[in-house]
């Protein structure tokens, strides 16, 4: 991970919460409650513009990287067919011990600018500090 990536915008744009995506996620989860759960977690912020783009912006070495955690703040579940504004930024990049950490924040807002969901994902690159 590149320390200078801190503050970079990974992605900004509009997304449709389409039925195909929700169904695909529910299919992957494969449970009786999956359809409802899919409305809470249909997007993974860091890969909104494609996993390759995110890796390039953050300078992530995939062979040493892992996802340490993800925090969801839900104002409400997503709604079928709604258009959401998405903003994904690299909030922090820092060293701790021999590892490097990157925190990626994704915010999803509705047409009025009201927050629907905020995600904070922490990546760890082992031995990169």
């Amino acid at each position: 991970m590149k320390l200078e990536a801190e503050g970079s915008t990974v992605y900004r744009g509009e997304e449709v919460v389409d039925t195909h995506r929700l169904n695909g996620l529910a299919w992957a989860l494969g449970s009786a409650s999956a359809e409802e759960t899919a409305h809470l977690v249909p997007f993974f912020g860091p890969t909104m513009a494609g996993e390759t783009h995110f890796v390039d912006v953050l300078g992530l070495d995939l062979s040493r990287a892992l996802l340490g955690g993800i925090t969801y703040e839900w104002v409400r579940p997503f709604r079928d067919g709604e258009i959401v504004e998405t903003r994904v930024v690299i909030d922090k990049v820092f060293d701790k011990g021999s590892n490097r950490f990157g925190v990626v924040v994704a915010e999803f807002t509705d047409g009025d600018g009201a927050l629907i969901q905020r995600q904070s994902s922490t990546f760890i690159e082992r031995g990169a500090a």
């Binding site: 992957a28 989860l29 409650s33 809470l40 977690v41 993974f44 892992l66 925090t71 409400r76």
Partner: protein, 114 residues
Amino acid sequence: MQFSEATTAPVKRVQIARYACAVGDFNPIHIDEEFAKAAGMPSVIAHGPLTAALVIDQLVAQASAEALRGADVRFRAPVFPGDTLTVVPTEDGFEARKADGSVAATVTLTEAGA
């Protein structure tokens, strides 16, 4: 709300592939067996957000999506094909435990009205 212990079905390779397609995360450690082994893993691993979604799904099944306001998921160990996750209420939240008792993730939940 009082949550009860609940266990997922075993994670399947096809489930990991479906998740990769659904969210567009094709990191090879999730879908390429040789890459995963070269990275020191015994096989491909489930995406962290998939693990999180599987755990959250067990909680949604007992409450509802509308009843949840937040979840902080910390990953402790990789989840492999064949693993089940038992979501166990603890003093601080929840643990997602594999069949051998090891902890794959811990979860702190925020409910509506909390």
